[in-house]
Symmetry: C2
DNA sequence: CCGCAAAGTTAGCTAAAGCTAACCATCTGT
DNA sequence: ACAGATGGTTAGCTTTAGCTAACTTTGCGG
């Protein structure tokens, strides 16, 4: 039935971590998000049950096709939104924080519009 | 401790209703937001307890100074954000829906930046 | 005056998503 | 070989914010 902001946040974190290190475990997520192990354990269980990730016997997490697609989508939103805010003069810290919130609630339609606007703006500068 | 998105949404709704009709009651909010009376009853109780509104003996709702200020702030965010999205080409419906979500999570800093950008954009067109 | 409709409240359910405490299973170092 | 660290899970608490069912209060119409 589609992920909630919280689930998307976990997925995005897994994506980011998977680009920084070869293998991602629950404990890495907990560390990175500053959540407790049980919280992560449950969230990972849900992502697995809903077929966004798989977890092998050693506790290493891998995306399913659907999971990867969604993670990349969220991550793109994050980067585009924070770049856009920064382009307009918002400091990096704030831009990233706000992008983190907006990325989970904005519609595809609005996001694509903003993305196009950002590209144009980027060119003309 | 500051209102959550849900509380802000109620406040904004009261503000909008108060501009459409002389008096606002809980049942009007319920009608407008498509929530049940008990849900609204609790929310109104919280807004009252936290001093954003007062409710007189007849059930009519009025803002406190703080409540009005916050309601106007949220409402301004809503209008500016949806105008901005529309200016960039997003349809009214979607723009309003997205504004509704973003208005509760964006920082003052980013909002003011976007607002300024919108004004500029508005002028040059 | 009786009865109904409208407005509000109370009690209690649910789901989401964080938490702690406590436990289990490995793996490692002396 | 066994103690402790590391990683994960289970059970159960808390808050938020929606819901239904059922109640109270009030104001009318006939």
């Amino acid at each position: 039935m589609g992920l909630k902001p919280s689930g998307e946040m976990y997925l995005e974190t897994i994506y980011v971590l998977s680009q920084m290190k070869s293998c991602v475990r629950s404990v890495d997520i907990a560390e990175h998000m500053n959540f407790t192990k049980p919280s992560v354990s449950r969230a990972v269980g849900i992502l697995k049950k809903e077929n966004y990730i798989s977890v092998d016997n050693d506790g290493y997490i891998n995306f399913t096709d659907e999971g990867l697609k969604l993670a990349q989508k969220i991550y793109e939103r994050h980067t585009v939104l924070s770049e856009l805010l920064m382009l307009l003069g918002v400091d990096k810290e704030t831009a990233s924080e706000d992008a983190c919130k907006i990325e989970h609630v904005i519609s595809d339609k609005s996001f694509e519009t903003l993305k196009k606007h950002m590209k144009d703006k980027q060119k003309q500068q």
